[in-house]
Amino acid sequence: MPTEEVKKEELVPIFIMGKRYEVPSSLTIQKAFEYAGYQLIRGCGCRGGICGACGTVYRFPGSYKIEVGLACQTVVQPNMYLTQIPFFPATKGVYDMEKIKPTIETLVKAYPELLRCLQCNTCTKSCPMDIEVMDYMAAAMRGDVARLAELSFDCVMCGLCTARCPAEICQYNIAILGRRLYGKYIAPQADHLAAMVKAVEKGKYEQMLRGLMDTDEEALKDLYNKREIEPEQADEDWTPKDKTHL
């Protein structure tokens, strides 16, 4: 929200790229940038912790530890000194989803550097989403695509793992390849979906829909009010009483 709304409150010092600013203690790093006078272009996206635009690294004086966070999700702390890593060069394998298989060969062909992984765990420590990055890399090296997909599911592709990887691997792109392989080839396909697509293409609903499109508002309201509502706690095999429009 606009900074006008920030009420008078305790100010804390933070160091944006080494420069000292005093900002209200309740702000996120992102809002602190704006409070300090920055207009963000890079390093700001959804402002809700899902787009991965605002990866940030910081340290505290006297501590060797590199801390990480998403700027839109991390509240400022006194004396943190920080910088955003809004972009980091990444490798991107190119593949035709129709022609590949969910195997280790596919992963290695798209990303040969995958096998350079040292299992040093720096990636895991660099992940603002608390993802076990090293573990999914291990799964990738074993060719366990399902595990790779499952462990990496929450990835926001901010690139902090890639920025810090000593083996120069782009983990998050390997992860999305793994997830797509899983979604397309390993997860069982939805038969009911395929059946519905076929029914729609055959024109099964054509007449009833065209009928609705020609119905006047009052009659539509009546049909709407009379819809049978599937109970919220109903089982998967629930069926409606009226099956004429199925």
Binding site: C51, H192, L193
Partner: protein, 557 residues
């Protein structure tokens, strides 16, 4: 920030009524749904759209006299960011078959189908590829995919009822019949939808649905769809080029009156450049960052309604923009998470909404506009909202119910994104309820288009949130991800066909911008405001006072 002592005390009242509410739920007893008449009364009395001053007439352009949000009117009644005389249209920087403005769900889906139809594609987008509201959509995507209990017929009725029966039928027909096809398309691209071990897609209810047809990928469905589409576009980089941080600031027409490109602005080098194209797809998204009536928003940083301005100046009419969508459940606590979307899926999974006494006052699955109106009523006229330490007011969303209804660990499993986010603030949403209030969420209306995504300007197509009609006056949950994928794909096909068969080369011009400027003048509108806005300005006004040499043009120097 964890809940304060005062709030923890109030949570006890929620806990006190919880087991009785769970029992009711298990018996299938629901809080009564409002009738259409009751809905209308609540809407007119409490919805922000009906508040005095919430609408203002546009004084110029093709929809002159149409009353919509003043925040959008102000931008429509602004000048171009750049004097058309300064732009040399003979110097073409990029040339392409199909130019797509916007790199979100609709734009990327359009890029894929246009490329499949043999077009050379250029995507120009304001921030990064994929930085869009699509990425933030959480709950799911609607489609009738279970033939034993659902069909496009019921989906059609639900869409119409949600939209107050005002939606153009042809658009809704297209939406609901294409729906199963796009879900299959996404499954085939490798989207990890939540499924049973046998492959049955998990489906839940949303507000205003008569069948459970919301498909999801945990609670990050939009992100899963967006990152998959983007990855696919990147696999086709040879034919789909992407220009990031390069928003369009004006459309370019040609001597035949056809759309033939756009003027782009490089946000970093501050250069303007000319793109010549055989067809243009506008997919720039919505406008939550205009903060209508001062509301907080769930929207992306770039959601400033740019496309409306571009299309309107080129002569395309606006529709359904008088209806703004407020999502019932935006976070109001902790303050750092303010405005953050709490997916409707939480209510779809069974969580009640409650007042300060821990009492239900509305069914949790009314359409969004109705649900929001009831929240506002409870917090204002009834006075049973929950006050927050920051002086706001909210409603309880009883997420721990899900843990009891669906089994231990369900909240973390079904809502991993929200679970970790609140955990960071010291709140365990599997044990403590969330505090929510309506938040600006979606632009129901937009530029007029048809089911082939054509607008009134030849060669100019629109898809996604920037367009208006399919949702009528109120979109239902799960129909925006559906909208962007269905109409994005159609726009790509239409634009590539147009580029191949109908596009007519001609001299480029910006005469429509000059004409628009003249019209502003004739209407007596004297302003130094420029549009599109491009980015909202959240920089500190006290600092800005000292930025003596910064000459601002809108919000970008």
């Amino acid at each position: 920030m964890p809940y304060t002592r005062e709030l923890k005390e109030l949570i006890k009242k929620v806990e006190a009524t919880r087991s009785a509410r769970i029992e009711k739920k298990r018996r299938g007893e629901e809080f009564h749904l409002l009738s259409l008449k009751e809905r209308e009364e609540r809407l007119k009395k409490y919805h922000p759209d009906f508040k005095e001053g919430s609408r203002k007439e546009i004084r110029v352009g093709p929809s002159k006299g149409y009353a919509i949000s003043p925040e959008i009117v102000d931008l429509l009644e602004a000048k171009s960011r750049v004097n058309p005389d300064f732009i040399d249209l003979n110097k073409v920087t990029y040339e392409t078959d199909v130019l797509i403005l916007g790199g979100g769900g609709a734009g990327t889906a359009a890029a894929l189908t246009a490329q499949e139809n043999g077009a050379k594609v250029l995507i120009a987008t304001k921030l990064r590829h994929g930085d869009a509201n699509t990425m933030m959509a959480e709950g799911g995507i609607q489609a009738a995919t279970k033939g034993t209990k659902d069909s496009p017929y019921y989906h059609y009725l639900d869409v119409l009822g949600g939209g107050h029966f005002k939606n153009p039928p042809e658009l809704v027909y297209t939406l609901v019949t294409e729906a199963p096809k796009v879900v299959a398309w996404l499954e085939n691209l490798g989207c990890m939808f939540t499924k049973s071990p046998e492959g049955r897609l998990m489906t839940l209810h949303g507000g205003g649905t008569c069948r459970k047809r919301m498909h999801c990928a945990a609670d990050i469905t939009g992100a899963e769809i967006m990152r998959t589409l983007r990855d696919e576009a990147r696999n086709r980089a040879e034919h789909i080029k992407v220009l990031e941080f390069s928003p369009a600031v004006e459309l370019i027409l040609n001597e035949h009156g056809h759309c033939a490109g756009a003027v782009l602005y490089n946000l970093e080098t501050e250069e303007y450049s000319v793109v010549k194209a055989k067809a243009v797809v506008l997919a720039t998204g919505g406008s939550g960052r205009l903060h209508m009536q001062g509301f907080m928003t769930t929207n992306h940083y770039g959601a400033t309604g740019d496309g409306l301005i571009l299309g309107y100046r080129a002569g395309v009419k606006l529709c359904f923009l008088h209806a703004v969508q407020y999502h019932p459940t935006g976070a109001v606590f902790p303050e750092q998470a303010e405005g953050l979307l709490i997916t409707e899926k939480v209510r779809g999974a069974g969580a009640n909404v409650l007042n300060i006494e821990g009492e239900q006052f509305v069914n949790e699955r009314e359409p969004r506009d109705i649900e929001s109106s009831c929240f506002i009523r409870e917090c204002t006229e009834i006075g049973k909202g929950i006050p927050t330490p920051a002086g706001k007011v909210g409603i309880w969303l009883d997420s721990p119910m899900i843990e009891i209804l669906m089994g231990e660990g369900a909240v973390k499993r079904e809502f991993p994104g929200k679970f970790i986010l609140f955990k960071r603030f010291g709140i365990d949403i599997s044990k403590e309820p969330m505090l929510v209030y309506p938040t600006l969420h979606y632009q129901n209306g937009g530029l007029e288009y048809n089911s082939r995504c054509e607008t009134s300007v030849p060669g100019f197509f629109a898809a996604g949130e920037v367009s208006g009609g399919v949702h009528g006056e109120n979109r239902l949950m799960g129909n925006s991800l559906l909208d962007v994928t269905v109409f994005g794909r159609i726009a790509g096909v239409s634009a590539s066909l147009y580029a191949k068969e109908k596009a007519k080369d001609g001299k480029l011009n910006l005469d429509h911008v000059r004409r628009y400027h003249r019209e502003l003048e004739e209407a007596g509108i004297i302003t130094d405001r420029v549009a599109p806005m491009l980015l909202p300005d959240y920089s500190n006004p006290n600092v800005r006072e000292h930025q003596l040499t910064a000459h601002y043009l809108g919000t970008i120097r």
